[in-house]
Symmetry: C2
Subunit: 181 residues, 2 copies
């Protein structure tokens, strides 16, 4: 790969919050000119694609203030400081769905908004699900509904934009390819 790196000339922290922080940097471009970069720092997150024994996907329904609408997504959550992503994923699956999984495997990681944020999502596949008798409770500021849908139903929800989220769209098409094998 070529090197298009941008050298930081100065960096100003605008905000340091509970979850994200914002800094603005002046950078030197490969041609020597300068530009401004607005950069959001995020602790990273996990997402889980849970598939039941009869091939259904477990999805969660959650109001998202940033978009001012309720979204249907695969279970997900941000990584606590220093936490191993797989541990976060097991915890979030339990808190958001009440399920544990006998088979828990890594799929892949990706950046969600590389143009302005460093958020990386680590995606896991959870199979051989079982109901946990007294599941741990999630964040007290999260209100979540549960859905179990077939692949065909999930695909229809993507088409009609009831599912409207990149990680979930990827997970559904991934699950389709997996279950067709």
């Amino acid at each position: 790969m070529k090197n298009y790196e941008e050298k930081t000339l100065s960096s100003e922290t605008i905000y340091e919050g509970k979850i994200i922080s914002l800094r603005v940097e002046d950078v030197e471009l490969p041609d020597g000119n300068h530009a401004k970069r607005e950069l959001v720092k995020h602790p990273g997150a996990v997402a889980i694609l849970p598939i039941t024994a009869d091939g259904k996907l477990v999805l969660v329904e959650q109001y998202r203030k940033a978009l001012d609408r309720t979204l249907v997504e695969i279970p997900a959550g941000k990584i606590d400081h220093g936490e191993e992503p797989k541990i976060t994923a097991i915890r979030e699956l339990e808190e958001e769905t009440g399920y544990g999984a006998k088979e828990f495997t890594y799929i892949q990681s990706f950046a969600t908004s590389p143009g302005f944020a460093d958020e990386i999502i680590h995606l896991y596949l959870a199979r051989e699900l079982y109901e946990i008798e007294e599941p741990a409770l999630g964040d007290e500021d999260e209100f979540i509904g549960l859905l179990e849908v077939t692949i065909e139903e999930a695909e229809a929800m993507v088409k009609n934009e009831q599912i409207f989220d990149a990680k979930t769209a990827f997970a559904i098409i991934y699950a389709k390819n997996l279950l067709q094998k």
Copy 2:
């Protein structure tokens, strides 16, 4: 769907920048308790899945300051104020790759980081590509390399995390299913 809406009690604008802005809101949760939401506002973006006549994907290589690394992605760019997303997509394809497309169709839209940002990406499929003789130049602060890869090469790049971006991972698996038909 149930209503998990969060009512805004107060909103403070922390930063208004060239591309993004940041506000912090106090909200009332469905159970009457209060919580704080850190929200990034973004103008929205387009991404294009360009497939050549011989079934190759056209990808761009670009340094991303937020992640401090070079990423390989499908062509993408933010929507200028008031611009129709399809027009943005046609423009970005030309600026970033030098290609025009005789067939330009909408695939779908999705939120990229619904936990903290309102960014929505509108994804288009571009086929029957032709080289534009004197393509318009892109943003002067963008330095971009071009790659044309087979689906198998693209899949390998996802596996080894050279491709490390949610919209691109989705586009590649979408292209695979499309070309296998």
